[in-house]
Amino acid sequence: MSVTVSIPTPLRPFTGGRDTLEVAGETVGQVLEQLLATHTGLKRHLMQDDGRLRNFVNMYLNETDIRHLASTATPVRAGDVLTIVPSIAGGAPAAAEAKALSHAETLRYSRHLLLPEVGVTGQRKLKAARVLTIGAGGLGSPVSLYLAAAGVGTIGIVDFDVVDLTNLQRQIVHGTSTLGRPKLDSAEERLTDLNPNVRIERHETRLTSENALEILGEYDIVVDGTDNFPTRYLVNDACVLLGKPNVYGSIFRFEGQASLFYAEKGPCYRCLYSEPPPPGLVPSCAEGGVLGVLPGIIGSIQALETIKWIIGAGTSLLGRLVLFDALKLRFRELELRKDPACPICGTNPTIHELIDYEAFCGIGAEPAYAGPEISAEELRRELHTKGQNLVLVDVREPHEWEIAHIEGATLIPLSQLPERLSELDGHAEIVTQCHHGARSMKALEILKGAGFGKVRSLAGGIDAWAERVEPGMARY
């Protein structure tokens, strides 16, 4: 038996220009087979290599799409009309296809492409990758610079700070020309200048329990460049909950640490540090200082681990904590194990959603000692009127004293205060003073405890003094 096969215009060059053909067969499949046997040029346009119809080729038996019948097994009867109907599809380069490298990119990344471990495949993976950097500061600078230079296609940055002069000693993604401007603007300009192929996604916000899952959820891998414990636990927990790797780094003075946390395959930050240190015990870089090169080294390790993760090369830092001592120039390595009792990634987790990290880290929950304070302006007035009767005790460290100090103050570093109380006149009015007002409050607590009655702390420390009373004084 034979049916009429209706040929659409684009296929007529392969049927000698004929728009219908009579073809024999019992089923649609047999008719098709017979058709292709007699008109071989049709085959590559209608059939895939695996012998199935191409997805844009549609066959209608009379008025019905054979997909709604028994497909190619549909029986045919004499007089049926089998119509080949095109569907037309296409579109701009798809996401994966767009990750092909242009000539300019091939040249730009040639030193990567020469490495078999990277190669074109690895470079395309980098181009397709989406990395989120938390913070555009000391760690975020080298991380974002190296990731951009390496050709990571999309870099998200979370930061809401502005570029300050004290940042530039280590935050090398910013510059003197961008002082006072949002760090996101500054970083975006520098990074797109370094590599215009990189797309920078801006998140000008403080990372919170409310927005973290949404922001982190858009990325493949997260690089933690935060400088405080609440955010570090927040980033860790969000990564665990989302099942994303977290490239960790932290720095203080001359020492740094780095690791790769990935709860799906190894430990998380909480497996290492189940609880944060008491508030105030570990000073921030702003309080304790940091050698500018240090974040360059730790941040570069984070960028390295990120790139290795994306291209799947080498051995990652998963399950290892690298400790770096810049003064000794020594790297040490600790083995990290997943903690079965970990409250978020252990066998019986107790944390199932993001919590209040400020409270968890004891910030605001148990207020630090709150003694009486004196403003910088009032201190100047009283120093003027009371003279020798007002004793100003500077509880900072000697090297801070060297940077700047208030005329007439006495230097007793906080750590030495308990042993040196005898140096102070118990009847005099005492004002304690430090850099920003935190240590001087602790000093106040010590003095009160020792029976000193008339003691106050300089609100805002010497920084407030330098800003509002003595503008010529150096700030740090």
């Binding site: 037309i88 296409g90 701009a92 296809e97």
Partner: protein, 141 residues
Amino acid sequence: MTVRLSPALVEEIRVHAERAYPTECCGVLAGQVSEVKEVLHLVPATNRRTDDPHRYLISPDDLRSIELSLRSSGEDILGCYHSHPDHAAAPSMFDTDQAWPWYSYIIVRVDQGRAVELTSWVLDDDRSRMHQEQLDVLSEV
């Protein structure tokens, strides 16, 4: 084969593409074939792909009804046009994979909402690639 169409039709494609930006537009080229493919009018089609702004699909049902409606006037489907929002006016790998032989595929590049470039392409017989064909824009006589 050369594709010939009037400036008015080119403008029609541009307007359609700009209106659809940032998604892709698509439509059918209708006309007659002599020594050239003479496009006489356009049939804007509904893009049946709604999941991805960088894809278009003219369904077989739509194409069949367009073909039937053309038959009475002795016209045929000569190919289609579609836009590439913020992409070159050159066929993507996907365009080539999905292409029919003989049909002309006009691609209009739309940069930031403005249609800038119009090219026409046809599939090689071995399906390996699409080659550009001549596009004659002639004033209507």
